[in-house]
């Protein structure tokens, strides 16, 4: 289970460069969305490795907060800052 965690964290680091080098602002939001979904997978794998179902609540709350953040950020950019 440790090796899956290492591979997922390397993938998160690879996606984070898209946030830095993205040509437009939507590329940066897309990179943020990908980092959020991969981080939820990392939390689920840690919960499986430790055997605690308490950590899955954190994953549910993080999924909902990431969805709200990305949606309102894109609506804010679509309305040009109103």
């Amino acid at each position: 289970m440790i090796s899956t965690l290492v591979v997922m964290i390397l993938l998160i680091v690879a996606v984070t460069f898209r946030v830095f080098i993205g040509p437009t602002v939507w590329d940066r939001i897309l990179g943020l969305n990908l980092v959020t979904t991969k981080l939820i997978m990392v939390i689920v794998l840690i919960a499986v490795m430790k055997g605690q179902s308490m950590l899955l609540d954190i994953a549910i709350v993080y999924a909902m907060l990431g969805f709200i953040g990305v949606t309102f950020l894109s609506i804010y950019i679509q309305n040009r800052g109103d």
């Binding site: 897309l30 979904t37 894109s74």
Partner: protein, 99 residues
């Protein structure tokens, strides 16, 4: 036996997610990039979560992972659609034949 199938599904899901990350860097335009992000990432997440459910067997843990699976299947295409809609209505032009 079922546990081995679960570990195989988890590794297959991580491979699918890695292909999605590669597609994010491979394409040089915004809309193919967001296609790779939406489709392949959702598929990888569903595969990883089904593998975890097969590993843990029938318990309360599996029920919570099922809730996360339903939430991910609803939320991930919605947020990607929201980003693409924002880019389209803001007037993002697709440059033709850039090499």
């Amino acid at each position: 036996m079922i546990t081995s199938i679960g570990y195989g599904l988890v590794w297959m899901g991580i491979l699918i997610i890695a292909i999605g990350v590669l597609g994010t860097y491979r394409f040089n335009n915004f809309y193919p990039r967001i296609l790779a992000a939406a489709l392949i990432d959702t598929m990888g997440n569903i595969t990883v979560l089904i593998g975890v459910m097969l590993i843990k067997g029938l318990s309360f843990f599996t029920f919570k992972v099922g809730i996360i699976l339903i939430i991910m299947m609803a939320i991930n295409p919605l947020s990607t659609h929201s980003i693409a809609r924002s880019a389209y209505f803001s007037g993002y032009k697709v440059r033709k034949e850039q090499e």
